[in-house]
Symmetry: C2
Subunit: 166 residues, 2 copies
Amino acid sequence: MTLQEDEETARLAFRDAMSRLAAAVHVVTTDGPAGRAGFTASAVTSVTDTPPTLLVCLNRASSVAGLFEENQVLCVNTLSARHEALSRAFGGATPQDDRFAAGDWTADDSGAPVLKDALVSFDCRIENAVASGTHHVLFCQVLGMRIGAAEDEALVYFKRGYHRIA
Amino acid sequence: MTLQEDEETARLAFRDAMSRLAAAVHVVTTDGPAGRAGFTASAVTSVTDTPPTLLVCLNRASSVAGLFEENQVLCVNTLSARHEALSRAFGGATPQDDRFAAGDWTADDSGAPVLKDALVSFDCRIENAVASGTHHVLFCQVLGMRIGAAEDEALVYFKRGYHRIA
């Protein structure tokens, strides 16, 4: 189909198409002067290894957007197959303190919460934010990383459901 | 680990960490005044549905980068589990004509090659390119989409190997 329809029709069709794009699931966290916060995200990707850089897409209207941009740091915690409940906690209307109570955390250089048993985590400084429609694309320089156990399985979201990959 | 090491050590450590980030596999194509080209990519993500927008990361040093930026259009063809050979063809040193000979193509509004049996395809106009290190992040407005058969399985890359998700 072409997206010549009205805006709402286009939005629904695009969401339906996006449900066919399999993606890793992450809990993206921050901490600092504006406080601690985290949300579940699949719109994360690597950009370049020179210097190591990730992108994170963030809805500007979300309740936590201002905290991330004020703290200027974040940690991308990539979830393993055992973290489906954690993904749901950080994706819903659960209060921030209750979200964090569902996991076991530490911190590295940036101070953003690092999930201790993540598949992999990327501790980052937010270098730049580029607006695109309703969202900001955050360009994040990677300060450090932790890699989980070699046998960990990945948690993947596809066709509106959770899957695991060994 | 922290990335205080020299640049080459940091790059290798980051690549190792990125191998634990499961991702869908796409063949991103273009056609127009600069000619036809395509490459395999996993660094693709959605940004916003208002208006429907995707990001594609493109190595500025690659042989095809100039073609995409001159043509100003592209199609993101998300691969299904049956497309592993196609993914390899578009990811290696295979000449462009031989790459396209490995698939069955059509075209929509933008003119970029659309893989007929893709899991999903997004026909796009490139709206903006933001430089980040060695790469350009292309902000792509979605002009139209095609959704494949409901039972299609996804092709996913994880820990440097191909996997499928039903």
